[in-house]
Amino acid sequence: MSAARARWRTTAVGLSFLLPNFLGFLILTLVPVVLLFYYGFTEWDVFGGATWSGLDNFRRMWGDASFWTALGNTGYYAVFHIPLTLAVSLGLALLLNRKLRGVGFFRTVAFFPYITSVVAIAQIWNMLFSPGFGPVNEVLRWLGVANPPGWTTSADASMPAVILVGTWRDMGYYMLLFLAGLQTIPGQLYEAARVDGANAWQRFRAVTLPGLRPTTFFITVLLTIGSFKVFDLILVMTDGGPGQSTLVLSQYIYKKGFQENEFGYASAVSIVLFAICFLVTVVQFVVNKRGSS
């Protein structure tokens, strides 16, 4: 009796520690997310009750060219942003994983973009990218490029511009995760490889990469979800333009919901975005499991 009581007590104490955080999560995240699955099947303009409309929202989405544009753009962003960020942050981590003078300073500097306000980043990069007198194009012209791209003001170059800035912003954070991963690789493995006569590239291929496997997997999952729900950066940098060239799904949801008051339809698009993130993550888990066994 008293043992059971003591156990219950421990559980209660544990739960009470969780409670403040869980309460916030419950009210601000879980309940809205669950409600989303209901509102996705209704027509709702926020005032009054929602009317059940079955699969209407999804049928409409099927024929909605803007939805497909947004989906395509989101895919475009993800396909380039994920490998690029992965490569750059891994490169940075390897570079800053040595015993250099001032390595702490360089690590901090690489982390700066991540903690800088997105609005400031967007504003500054927009000025750098300015087609007429921005420094980026000044340099390109100096290098002999006759017609440098219009970056955020041209439909063809706006997505590459946003991807570049997205990568630049995220690289510091993932570098930190990679750095942590690198610490877990035992030094003896490198020593053994050296004794066997492996050169730097061979050591990277045979020791570092396999050793980083769990970290890489974790980062890929985070990056994938992050790329699919990219919002703030694009909203402030290009607002989806010019035209619809950088319109992404989360921004489309925002537009439909908060600007056009179609909360039902916006919820339906959110469900699709959720399903995509979920599926991609499941596939990644399966692939990872198969690879590690």
């Binding site: 926020v46 909605d64 060219a65 087609p131 007429g132 955020t152 333009g241 010019p242 908060f258 600007q259």
Partner: protein
């Protein structure tokens, strides 16, 4: 035990917002809440509240501040949650349909019936034979011009009969002559908003209708805008967006000799010139350039009005109606004009506003301020908000040079048909 239970119940009721937050008394002093934004820099709400208090000492008006950029989103959330103020502003007409259709506005037809005929901007608020909001501000787009730069370039001032063609020619002439005289100022500045082209096009083209889904009427206006950009008579759209140029600095810091803008800029320019945020120079306003010369210049802008939250108590609604009648009336018009704001009753305001220190008082400026046919920027309809979003994409595509005008118009028409009008 019983006591603590009661306390918990009271707490829960308070937290969940239940219970009767009522005004039990039927007489005596009453407090109305009024929505406003950026109260520190937007004095009109306080001016109206104070002015109303002068004639209605038993009604206190309490201001509730909202964020200017997210006003409609925040207001929608507050209305849906039942936490909205008694009187709230219709900042423009884009969201009026949402509020009216969503039954978030009380019928104020009785207030409208008593208003004088000089109150502008009432018509858009009338749906199904009833009036749902009362305008207190009624701005119009005019052409601001820098008299000093015109004189420096030796170009004739606008005479009140300008067409877009004449305006374009003047902008190009100003650019060349200003450059020759060593000035860096350009001929004109059309801000990055879609309304600088689309607002005029919709208002001035005969037969143009937003919900028709035919946007061919936009073409000549975009030809003018692109022409100015190509000729270098105006900052390119890309440079304006990437550098987040503000129209206040473009005109106020004499970067451009002309600028089409709404009359709300009069108050801003006067105060910025007084404080030194803008250069001191002589300026004037002229009627907006026209598609073809017309007796009464046609222009656009949405009125700004007050609506009443229908969830307020009956007594508060009655008091709020008194406030609405005051805000649209001649006394409020003079008070608003005194701080440079263009009231709904333009005629009662012109002598006050153009007599303010630093304001222009020439014939053309008076004409521009008083004589105009102002059409709504966002005609009230179910389709306005989504159509304006489609047209915003068209605007950025054309102005950035990403799409030719015809192709962008065709695409916008297709999108309007399949995404908005057919749903």
């Amino acid at each position: 035990m019983k006591r603590s239970l009661a306390a918990v119940t009271a707490f829960l009721l308070a937290v969940t917002g239940c219970g009767s937050g009522g005004d039990a008394e039927d007489s005596g002093p009453i407090t109305l809440t009024l929505a406003g934004w950026s109260l520190a820099t937007t004095p009109e709400f306080k001016t109206l509240a104070d002015g109303f208090r002068g004639t209605h000492p038993d009604i206190t008006i309490e201001l509730k501040e909202y964020d200017a950029n997210n006003y409609d989103t925040q207001m929608t959330a507050d209305l849906a949650a039942g936490k909205a103020p008694d009187v709230y502003v219709q900042k423009n007409l884009k969201n009026f349909y949402t509020y009216q259709h969503g039954k978030q506005l009380a019928d104020v037809s009785d207030v409208a019936a008593k208003l004088g005929s000089s109150v502008g901007g009432l018509a858009p608020y009338q749906v199904d034979g009833k009036t749902w909001a009362i305008p207190y501000r009624s701005d119009s787009w005019v052409l601001f011009y820098n008299k000093a730069l015109f004189d420096k370039a030796g170009v004739e001032h606008p005479d009140g009969t300008w067409t877009w063609e004449r305006y374009s020619a003047a902008a190009k002439e100003l650019t060349t002559k200003l450059k020759a005289s060593g000035s860096k100022a350009l001929g004109t500045y059309q801000h990055t908003w879609q309304s600088t082209a689309q607002g005029f096009a919709l208002a001035q083209t005969a037969g143009a209708e937003l919900p028709s889904g035919n946007f061919g009427y936009l073409k000549p206006y975009y030809e003018t805008a692109l022409g100015l950009q190509t000729a270098g008579a105006q900052v390119s759209f890309g440079d304006a967006t990437t550098n987040s140029l503000t129209y206040q600095a473009q005109f106020g810091k004499q970067q451009a000799a002309m600028m089409p803008m709404g009359t709300w800029y009069i108050a801003t320019l006067l105060s910025q010139q007084a404080k030194g945020d803008a250069d001191s120079f002589a300026w004037g306003i002229a009627p907006a350039p026209q598609l073809t010369t017309s007796a009464t210049p046609v222009t656009f802008a949405d009125p700004t009005g007050f609506g009443i939250n229908p969830k307020s108590s009956e007594r508060k609604i009655a008091a709020a109606k008194d406030f609405l009648a005051y805000a649209a009336g001649p006394d409020a018009a003079k008070a608003l004009a005194g701080i440079g704001v263009t009231p709904a009753d333009n005629a009662s305001a012109v002598d006050t506003i153009l007599a303010l220190e630093g304001a222009p008082n020439d014939e053309v400026s008076r004409l521009a301020y008083t004589k105009h046919d102002t059409k709504p920027e966002n005609p009230v309809s179910e389709y306005t908000a989504p159509l304006q979003n489609v047209l915003k994409d068209l605007h950025t595509a054309i102005m950035s040079g990403s799409k030719p005008i015809d192709a962008a118009i065709t695409e916008a028409q297709d999108r309007a048909e399949s995404e908005v009008l057919s749903k």
